[in-house]
């Protein structure tokens, strides 16, 4: 599904050029559950931004289902994010003015889904993540774990091909984290492709494949152990 060849990203900070990605090669198949690990500044977040169509590579190729996403313009990238990608962020990124239901509806609004259909699907998704009774609550009335469930429901709104999560449990306690990871496991079991960026070994061990980054390069790509319910460090 994802083909990355010699991917490079260089940021210009003042007069200096900072290399975030120094030539990464990677392919990810449909249905995979991938954890991207590495210390901060290793380029894993940059990779995720490029995979999600939030950022463009400086050079190198990025093909998604055969499409050259690396060469997309602004509108094509926006449409790509809306149709193909679901994002889950460490800080949830829910809109505080909107109810849980309205937050989940948001991607469908940009997708042009009519109101009644939108509300129906958003309700189903909230029920799917166990928050059917809270759809009228605003983010401030929900716990961290509940907020992240709403965010996950939102990421699924437009039936994405790929779910990208950046430190999804970084702001949650251990117990809540386990619940979220369980939910990810279930989604993957239903066939959703998952890429999770984390530096938490517990989170990484849930994935069936772990890619380690260092200084903008992939230093290991471990298909071996792990997987849902697999060995833990």
């Amino acid at each position: 599904m994802i083909e990355i060849r010699d991917l490079r990203k260089v940021y210009i900070m003042g007069d200096e050029e900072v290399g975030a990605l120094a030539g990464a090669d990677l392919s990810i198949e449909r249905g995979e559950y991938v954890a991207v690990i590495g210390p901060s500044g290793s380029g894993k977040s940059t990779l995720m931004n490029i995979l999600g169509g939030l950022d463009r590579p400086t050079s190198g190729g990025y093909r998604f289902e055969g499409e050259d996403v690396g060469g997309f313009g602004d509108n094509a990238l926006a449409d790509f994010r809306r149709r193909r990608i679901g994002f889950v962020f460490q800080s949830f990124q829910l809109l505080p003015r909107l109810t849980a239901l309205q937050n989940v509806e948001l991607p469908m609004v940009y997708g042009g889904v009519p109101g009644p259909e939108r509300r129906e699907r958003a309700t189903e998704l909230l029920e799917r993540v166990g928050l059917g009774a809270r759809k009228g609550h605003r983010p401030t009335q929900l716990s961290g774990g509940q907020q992240q469930r709403v965010a996950i429901a939102r990421s699924l709104a437009n039936r994405p091909d790929l779910l990208l999560a950046d430190e999804p449990t970084g702001a949650l306690d251990t117990h809540t984290s386990e619940e979220i990871l369980k939910l990810f496991g279930e989604l993957n079991a239903d066939g959703l492709t998952l890429v999770i960026v984390t530096h938490d070994p517990d989170v990484a061990s849930e994935a069936r494949r772990r890619i380690a980054f260092r200084d903008g390069l992939i230093v290991s790509d471990d298909h071996g152990q792990g997987g849902p319910g697999g060995a833990r460090a």
Partner: protein, 408 residues
């Protein structure tokens, strides 16, 4: 993406900060209310003045002595009166002249049956009624025979009649002007009070010779005239008749080519046009001053929209992440600015219309709010929202989603 959803987002953001939104719109409210009030004052005043001038008769030419420069050595009473009975008589023979009315004016204290009233008395010929489009309500206008016989008769305006005799019919009553007894032979039909600050019904007409000898006395030469009203048969002919009058009077006064006239002619149509033009300029000026406050209101909207873009940077980033195009963001924020401005415009229009009606009542002018002020006000407030919302919206749409999501 549907427009309805974008409008919903705009209203959602506006209602999220009700107080802030009200204060932001207030600038536009005041601006639009001011523009509406100023234009309706201008239009109302213009209608009132043209009504007043129109009531004087539009195909009328007024001949008066030339303006006398003050400060020049005094030349004695009445020396400025260059017009004479003979001028009026000659003008009456010009082709296209329907009526000519020489006039002298004086101020007189009237007393009758114990009542007193001070008013302007006009010495006129019988033709005056035709020249000024007057109507006799009861009795009659004095005629040439009255004038020839030197009879002391008068026709009074409704205001004078009411002041001296109340509701009783004054025809046949006696009235003293100073000490001279006059007989009332007629009462004028009311012209209405829509004059230029003066009551056109507060008037007394008497034969020219009687006013000269009995009211003005030595202050005026026996054949001097203060004003000659010339009524043209046809309004289209007005300019030509005016030229003929000028040429004729120059000839009668033996003014050589190149010398200044010792009299002047004005026609009511050009006075009307000139006053309309002056008022239109005045109205535009007032509206422009009011428009400045509309611009200030727009700056207020821009200010708040820039604050909103900064506050909602993360929201913008998130919307982009879930698939909003830059144009969706642009339109959302532009709509927010337009809604703030347009709602302000609607409220301003209502306040302005009510204020205009109130002011029209006070100023007693006929129509209050011109019908085009509604679309104009709303059009302008939409424009203000678009212009001043453009830069903040553009800033919002240009944000980098990654940076925006990272913003605290």
């Amino acid at each position: 993406m549907r427009l309805f959803d974008l409008v919903r987002f705009a209203f959602g953001a506006i209602f999220a900060h009700p107080m802030r939104s009200v204060l932001t719109s207030l600038g536009v409210v005041i601006g639009v209310a001011a523009v509406v009030m100023m234009t309706s004052i201008g239009v109302g005043a213009s209608q009132r003045i043209s009504g007043a001038i129109g009531s004087l008769g539009t195909n009328l030419i007024i001949v008066t002595p030339a303006f006398q420069r003050p400060g020049v050595v005094s030349q004695g009473a009445g020396s400025g009166l260059t017009l004479k009975d003979a001028d009026a008589a000659a003008i009456g023979r010009i082709d296209g002249v329907a009526a000519v009315a020489p006039v002298v004016r004086g101020q007189a204290q009237l007393s009758a049956d114990g009542a007193n009233w001070s008013t302007g008395i006009q010495g006129v010929t019988p033709e005056y009624v035709a020249a000024r489009d007057l109507t006799i309500a009861s009795g009659r206008m004095f005629d040439d025979r009255d004038t020839r016989q030197g009879r002391k008769v008068m026709v009074v305006g409704p205001t004078v009649a009411r002041q001296l005799w109340g509701e009783a019919d004054p025809v046949g009553k006696r009235v003293r002007v100073k000490t001279v007894p006059f007989e009332v032979v007629g009462v004028l039909e009311s012209k209405g009070s829509a004059g230029l600050g003066q009551d056109q019904d507060d008037v007394v007409l008497a034969p020219l010779s009687a006013v000269r000898s009995r009211v003005l006395g030595r202050r005026i030469r026996a054949d001097a005239v203060q004003t000659i009203f010339v009524k043209a048969t046809n309004a289209d002919d007005l300019d030509r008749v005016q030229e003929d009058v000028t040429d004729l009077v120059r000839e009668l006064h033996r003014i050589k080519p190149g010398e200044d006239d010792d009299f002047q002619t004005q026609n009511m149509a050009s006075i009307l046009a000139a006053s309309q033009a002056a008022l239109a300029t005045f109205t535009v000026l007032l509206a422009a001053v009011a428009g400045v406050s509309l611009v200030v209101g727009g700056v207020g909207i821009m200010n708040i929209m820039l604050v909103a873009v900064t506050e909602r940077t993360r929201e913008i980033g998130l919307r982009m992440a879930v698939g909003a195009r830059r144009n969706d963001i642009l339109i959302q924020f532009a709509l927010e600015a337009v809604v703030l401005s347009l709602v302000g415009g609607l409220i301003g229009l209502a306040i302005g219309a009510l204020g205009s009606i109130g002011i029209a009542k006070l100023g007693q002018w006929p129509s209050a709010v011109p019908p085009w002020s509604g679309p104009l006000a709303l059009g302008f407030s939409t424009l203000v929202g678009l212009i001043f919302g453009a830069y903040p919206s553009w800033r919002a749409a240009r944000l980098d989603p990654i940076e925006a999501l990272r913003r605290e």
